[in-house]
Amino acid sequence: MKIAPLFDVQSELTDAAAGKCAIVLTTRVRLARNLANQPFPGWAKEAQRSAMLAESIGVVAGLPQMKKGLSLTVEELTDLEKQILVERHLISRELSTAKHGAGVVISRDQSTAVMINEEDHLRIQVLRYGFQLKKVWNAINALDSEIEERLNYAFSPTLGYLTACPTNLGTGMRASAMMHLPALVISSQMEKVVRAVNQLGMAVRGLFGEGSDASGSIFQISNQTTLGESEEEIIKRLSSVLNTIIEHELNARAKLLEADGSKLFDKIGRAFGILQNGRLLTSAEVMNLLSLIRLGIDLGVFPESRRPLIDRLFIEAQPGHIQYAARGTFESGQRDQLRAQLLRTEFNKFEPPNFNVGGKN
């Protein structure tokens, strides 16, 4: 398998140490960039796309940040490999459906990925564990400047970076945070939060981006607009929105415990029981069960040191990863069996829940 090296090393997404702020799982910034005087990928002819891919994949792979990284083209990847890359947030669904002349360069620690010929010529992303918007912006800003030394970007002094879709015009930047908001979901406040966040010009999506559902109470919050505001301003505005959401989530948790702690602990205990003993588990169900265990960790029911395992399982319980681990392709019923088996193994090594935490948050 072309992507096998991904599993040999620790990845930013699945193995990083627990962040200080458990509510924000990961922070990501992506930049849309295009080359001057070339048609955008969606309009380019096959030969033009191939030439563009050939030219830029080498340039990007040669960057110091990409040392010992992986360069992959869609032609050489199997459907399963593409699915795994999507599940690890390293390529988009759109890129995974491209038939030819598209690819991706992934850094060794998987914190950085540059998609080539997705909607734009380049989609650069940097992703880090926890709430680190500024650090991620600094990293991607430096990477972007290095790429610009080597490739001629399409840029207009008045409109900024020129992108295939006018909704990305200007900075071409989408900054986002993946947030775990179980208490807001349990207390049915999420709809209200989404509406408020939308009114502030920020978008709320599910774990796998546009059109995906919010299983596991995981939501992606990102800026909606890209023109007329600097990158720093966008990041500042997003940060303040994220901080407000964190505050609301913590309040909702406190209220749930105050109103009826045993009800919440019952949910957590049951989730633990199913994960230890289930024989057929769908990925949606597992996402929701893991979400409760993660909440349990935040509340002190399980040890803090287990949080990275849960975050890894969020990804490893996805259909592509289940099949990769079992070295084969399986129907959904068989996958549910394999998934339950994986979780039984992991959760039988897990410390039993300790509910004498006195509502500690």
């Binding site: 939308n198 978008a203 023109l227 301003e233």
Partner: protein, 171 residues
């Protein structure tokens, strides 16, 4: 109250009225039940009014003629209405009359503020200097200051040479 609101997308009576404040600007959209469902407006996991506004302003009248065509890549106004994306960077100049009014609804502002790539900045500086010198030259000729005019002309020549040395994207 004689005429009730119609759906912005299909024209049926609207039952969903949506107000979103994007960057201190109020955007209102009226939709019928079916379109609201189809566009995911009722979906609690969120939707983007910017996308909706873009599509709404694209959908209405089916392209009568092909309209403007981009000289660089052959992309037409009809293509833009169909795809909602452009064909190449030069399309932004070609279709500026179409896209210009839409940007205000989509974004916080209509002018880029933020990162400027270093090389593009150099080109921009040269371009701005050239524009300024041209104005000075015209004024000098008008007021018959021929020495100044000659100086401007020489400098224009120099800047143009430097400009040609750069990748010619900013014209």
């Amino acid at each position: 109250m004689a005429n009730s609101l119609k759906c912005d997308l299909c024209g049926k009576p609207a039952t969903v009225h949506l107000t979103q404040i994007v960057n201190n600007k109020i955007h209102k959209v009226d939709l019928c039940e079916a379109c609201a469902q189809a566009k995911g407006v009722t979906d609690p996991s969120g939707f983007s009014l910017a996308d909706l506004l873009l599509k709404a302003s694209l959908n209405p009248e089916p392209a009568v003629a092909e309209g403007v065509r981009c000289e660089q890549c052959g992309f037409t106004q009809a293509d833009f209405k169909k795809h909602g994306r452009f064909g190449c960077p030069a399309c932004y100049e070609t279709f500026k009359d179409i896209i210009g009014p839409m940007l205000g609804n989509m974004h916080k502002g209509t002018v880029h503020i933020g990162k400027v790539p270093r090389h593009a900045l150099e080109r921009k500086t040269l371009y701005d200097r050239l524009t300024q010198l041209q104005v000075e030259l015209d004024q000098a000729i008008k007021s018959e200051r021929y020495e100044d005019a000659a100086r401007c002309r020489d400098e224009i020549h120099q800047v143009k040479q430097a400009f040609e040395g750069k990748p010619a994207e900013l014209k």
